[in-house]
């Protein structure tokens, strides 16, 4: 057959296979290297530091684990969090992450490598990203072949959508969860293909690891049953499916119940009921199959079929009844808010207030998965083309994940792997087509009637063989686009010969185009990673006029001030976003933190922040609050400050005290949210407003003070504080810390005491009881 370009023909097949496997290994190693390296921007630009908020708690917990051992960690009661309620940490976290780094820590120390626990925590995510790349390779290999696998590995290695949660220092559950997710799916597919109980058990084990590591395990818990159910409905039930699913479900469920935080949920909550139901259904179907294999009577089979349906219905009814009776808990709020998207804002404002629970606009999709995002549908279509069981899995995954990613920015994370896989499938099949040197016999070569194999040739032969020109004309329309599509749609086209690319330039063009895209992708990922995803929101960076980088380090400045200037047990009150950081960096007790388990307690803080000093003071005293910490960006324009979050505090407080706190009072009559002279009295008297703008106007000398976040003019005469003292204000005023005054020694209310201390004359008070002469 004709070749577009010549291949070396003097190679033994053994050499070829060996070289290719060697190349695969090398490229996998390089991909891992790239994946790790591209996540180190944060460390290089800033330093080896834990990022953001939740990681600070994970880091703290890991320290406890590394110092005191596992049992101490398991029984750890953190009495500095949620003061004075305390938090039972062991039973309220997914210990997988801490356990992982604890193991690594101990192994390294057993090898006499004294690595600091912090560095392990910082570098854990990049390390696991390499493993993710590998497991994605394995997964995609099951879908198509090694070349697609390598592409997928490369994609997931540098796709920003995954880097955003796994840069060095973002020490969060997702860091290891994605690897576990992919590997669980891989072994599930493997188990399904081979029908081996071994791989089923492997799936279960990694499922257990996933359960221990991330709350998102519910995704697996519902994906696999969904896949199994779809296969059954497609009439693809097989003993392989039965073995794989049963071994996964039985072992996986039992294992997952060993995690204290999960406990009996797998049999008590709706999130897990799908798995249980499909398990039951599988047993029924398997039984039906068994009977059918032995009985041949038609009616009996139909009866059997009916009975299967009936039993299924009964199961559904029983499930409904149990839920109604309350034996099975209905969907939890977080999970439910994925379906009813208005639910969270109405009933659980805390969840709605988290920024990463907001819906996703298209630019962030494109930002996170540049050209993969439009290769993704193509890949899905290719999966439909040869519809094997594992392809069904990818298809379901694609639909579900793209919906979830649309609803919550955060779930972009679960979408990224399937996008990478599908895109890799599409891309590699493109390259396969255009790199393959084999050229088909063309219809214009079919002038010679000798070869009439191809459809075109046959057509040409059919027409009068005398003049090839005519033949061309006759043959041309026949294998046009239409027939091409038909051929493409047919699962495995027609004879291989008729399929191929002519000429070198076409190949060159397409391949060049493709490589260009890949190059662009790499550039894009590097840019996005370095610019967007590598800043540890603890340390902010701005650029000086001369372009050099200027580090804004107010947070650590303030936290270390707390650590060094306040007594060990000084209770610090702040909005919950900063709870973990205060605990981690300042090492002081906090009222509320990012583990938002107690709505009332958070609402209490919200109430204190959003009500006037007189109302707030008793609350502060009751909770032994010594310092109040607020974040204020008005000076340098840091938009993520407390005044912008203030409405959430009001809303959450209103949820608990609807009579005392009401959101409308914080808006102007026109319904605007303002902080300047037009601000309503409630707003101006609120503790948060006072603490934010206390002595802010003085900073501007005589000039008009301007809040650079709100872009509004701050009143000239700033608020006054009677019950609090300004204790500390960081360099750029981002963090402001206030000390709560003790009661007045003479038993006056602090307002009067303050007035007296400032030398104000109080008007002469009259005797309490109007004594009258009895005449």
């Amino acid at each position: 057959m004709p070749l577009a370009y010549s291949l070396p023909s003097n190679l033994s097949p053994a050499t070829v296979t060996n070289t290719s496997s060697l190349l695969r290994i090398i490229s996998l190693a390089l991909i891992s290297g790239a994946a790790i390296a591209s996540r180190l921007f944060a460390v290089i630009n800033f330093e080896s530091i834990i990022h953001e908020f939740d990681p600070w708690f994970n880091y703290r917990a890991t320290r406890v684990l590394a110092e005191k051992g596992f049992y101490a960690f398991w029984n750890w009661f953190d009495h500095t969090a949620w003061y004075p309620l305390g938090r039972v940490v062991g039973g309220t976290i997914y210990p997988g992450l801490m356990a992982t780094s604890g193991v690594i820590y101990n192994v390294l120390h057993a090898l006499n490598l004294p690595v600091d626990i912090r560095n392990i925590c910082v570098l854990l995510a990049p390390g696991f990203s390499a493993l993710t790349a590998w497991s994605t390779y394995m997964f995609t290999k099951e879908m198509k072949d090694e070349s697609a696998g390598l592409l997928a590995a490369a994609f997931i290695g540098i796709a920003p959508g995954y880097i955003s949660r796994s840069v060095a220092g973002s020490y969060d559950n997702e860091a290891i969860a994605i690897f576990l997710l992919m590997f669980t799916f891989y072994s599930w597919i493997k188990a399904l293909k081979t029908g081996s109980a071994f791989f089923g058990t492997l799936t279960a084990l990694f499922y257990f690891y996933m359960v221990a590591a991330w709350g998102g395990y519910a995704f697996i818990t519902n994906m696999i049953p969904l896949h199994a159910l779809t296969l059954i409905l497609m009439g693809r039930f097989s003993s392989r499916l039965y073995v794989a699913y049963s071994s996964w479900y039985a072992i996986g469920t039992l294992a997952s119940m060993q995690v204290p935080f999960v406990g009996f949920q797998p049999v008590r909550t709706s999130e897990h009921m799908a798995a249980l139901g499909v398990f039951g259904l599988l047993q029924i179907v398997a039984f039906a199959e068994l009977v059918r294999a032995h009985v041949s009577s038609k009616q009996f089979q139909s009866i059997l079929f009916g009975s299967v349906i009936g039993i299924g219905l009964l199961g559904a009814l029983a499930f409904g009844g149990l839920t109604y009776k309350g034996w099975i808990a209905p969907w939890t709020g977080r999970f439910y808010s994925l379906w009813d998207t208005g639910y969270a804002k109405k009933y659980i404002p805390i969840i709605a207030s988290v920024s990463e629970h907001q819906p996703t606009a298209w630019p962030s999709f494109f930002m996170d998965l540049q050209f993969l995002i439009f290769l993704f549908p193509a890949g899905v279509v290719l999966c439909f083309r040869e519809l094997r069981d594992e392809h069904v899995f990818v298809i379901i995954y694609a639909v579900v994940a793209s919906y979830f990613a649309g609803v919550m920015v955060r779930l972009m994370l679960t979408l990224t792997p399937v996008v990478c896989v599908a895109a890799a499938v599409a891309f590699s099949s493109l390259l396969d087509t255009y790199i393959d040197p084999v050229e088909p016999e063309a219809s214009d070569a079919a002038a010679s009637p000798a070869e009439g194999t191809s459809a075109a040739g046959a057509a040409a032969a059919a027409s009068d063989a005398g003049s090839s020109k005519k033949a061309k004309k006759a043959a041309a329309p026949d294998p046009g686009v239409a027939s091409g599509i038909l051929a493409a749609v047919a699962p495995s086209g027609s004879g291989p010969k008729s399929r191929g690319i002519f000429g070198l330039d076409t190949r060159g063009l397409v391949v060049f185009n493709a490589l260009g895209m890949l190059l662009f992708f790499v550039l894009h990922c590097t840019y996005v990673t370095s610019s967007a995803y590598s800043s540890p929101s603890v340390v902010l960076a701005s650029t000086n006029p001369d372009g050099s980088q200027h580090i804004i380090d107010d947070f650590r400045e303030a936290y270390y001030w707390l650590r060094q200037n306040t007594p060990e047990d000084a209770v610090v009150m702040s909005w919950w976003d900063y709870g973990y950081q205060i605990a981690g960096m300042a090492d002081r007790p906090t009222l509320v933190d990012n583990n938002t388990w107690n709505n009332t307690h958070i609402a209490t803080v919200g109430k204190a922040m959003s009500s006037s000093e007189e109302v707030a003071y008793p609350i502060l005293r009751k909770h032994d609050v010594d310092y109040v910490l607020v974040i204020f960006g008005g000076l340098i324009g840091y938009s993520g400050d407390d005044i912008n979050k203030f409405l959430w505090m009001v809303r959450i407080a209103q949820g608990v005290w609807p009579e005392e706190i009401q959101e409308p009072n914080y808006f102007t009559p026109k319904g605007e949210y303002r902080i300047d002279d037009a601000a309503p009295a409630t707003m101006k008297n609120s503790l948060m407003y006072k603490m934010s703008y206390y002595r802010f106007a003085e900073l501007f000398g005589g000039n008009q003070a301007v809040d650079r976040v709100r872009g509004q003019q701050v009143p000239k005469t700033g608020p006054t504080l009677d019950y609090l003292d300004e204790a500390f204000t960081s360099e750029n005023w981002i963090v402001r810390i206030y000390q709560v005054k003790k009661e007045d020694p003479l038993g006056r209310d602090l307002k009067a005491a303050n007035a007296f201390a400032n030398g104000k004359k109080r008007k002469k008070s009259k005797p309490l009881s109007r004594r009258r002469a009895v005449a």
Binding site: H79, G86, D744, P745, L746, G747, S765, L768, R772
Partner: protein, 445 residues
Amino acid sequence: MRFLRTLLFPLLALTSFALARSSTGDSVLVLLDPSLKKENYSIFFGDLEKKGYKLTFRSPKDTTPEIIKDDVAQFAHVVVFAPETKTFAADVTPQSLVSLLSKNMNLLLALSPKQTPLTSLASEFSLILPPPGTPLISHFPKRDTPATLIPVQPPRAHHVISDNLAPVWFSGVPQSLGHNPMLIPLLNAPPQAFASDADSDSGADALVEAAEKSGEGLWAGSSLSLVTGFQTLSNARATWVGGVEMFSDEYINKEISKGVKSGNRDFARDVTAWTFQESNVLRIDSVEHNLVNETLPGETYTINDQVTFTAFISKYDPEIGWWRAYSDIDDMQLEFTMLDPHIRTSLPPVEGEPGMYAVTFRVPDRHGVFKFNVDYKRKGWTYLTSTSMVPVVPPQHDGYPRFLSAAWPYYAGAFSTSAAFILFVALWLAGDDRELKKNKGAKAE
């Protein structure tokens, strides 16, 4: 350890307060207005010096010696006998006097019918003074003295003023008391007494008129206080005296009736003793808490533990000038608090253990950070407050019962199933499958 401490405290007290009669020190600054001659008050100051106080005299106008130098209090007590002084030196302002209290110095202040800076200060102590120029007046009992010089019977059964004192001579302004629990009246006006501008003392009606006009009602009756004590949260003490003359030699020597000396001298002694923290001074030496029948204090407690709380309290004894264990408090309470008191129980003294108060209770079934609160506030006595924090944790992972009788069905189920499985496997491996093949063959045909 504990015994060592109980020994240690008296020793310290001995060394430091060997001379002093007061628990807080013996240096007294007297701001004496030049208009009141020092020799007119010789007996009063003499008594103080006899007690061992070092008196330093200073006129309100001049600036040395400073009361506070470099933010350090130079004296333990300050007596302000300047009832009519309008202008003080820069360092004697109402604010600075309050700051003295927060530095735990004690004040003895004298008032007069005249309007002075002290009058405005008095209102900060929620004392309410009548309008300027209205001294206390009483026409009973019939006597030859002017109506503004009144014999007043000191209170009986008062734990600051010693019992059955002779009546004391008083002339000055009364004070009506606000709703401040820190106030303790040391001397109340006689029921027939009333406040009015002395000259126009003409009939009750005029008085009522005036009262109605001023809108303050009638300044009269025994609810008016003449000498008022005040104890701040930090246990500093300030005493307000309606008229300074009651400490003068003249009043001290003046006879109430034939042969009966006035009680002024003893009264002054009691008042200064209380004001300078000689009498009614308590303190908590130490508090301890531990599990029942353990001695070491617990770091944390598990829910439902039995916990013993112990407090050691001693009282200052001016006679010997040190602290001695004090077991006479019978109404002290202990609170075990998280946000709200989960447990509030009485903290009784222990028989045979002087100064020791103890109670044993069960920790509530609720984990969190709890506080042992002792908060004992009684009029005239030092406030006793103590707070010690302790986390209460849920049981450890192995703190729960291991084998539950209720779970036997599950144990049985698990074991029987595994046994059955092993049996099945054994049989399966033991059996051969020839006839099975035959069946297969049969099927195939």
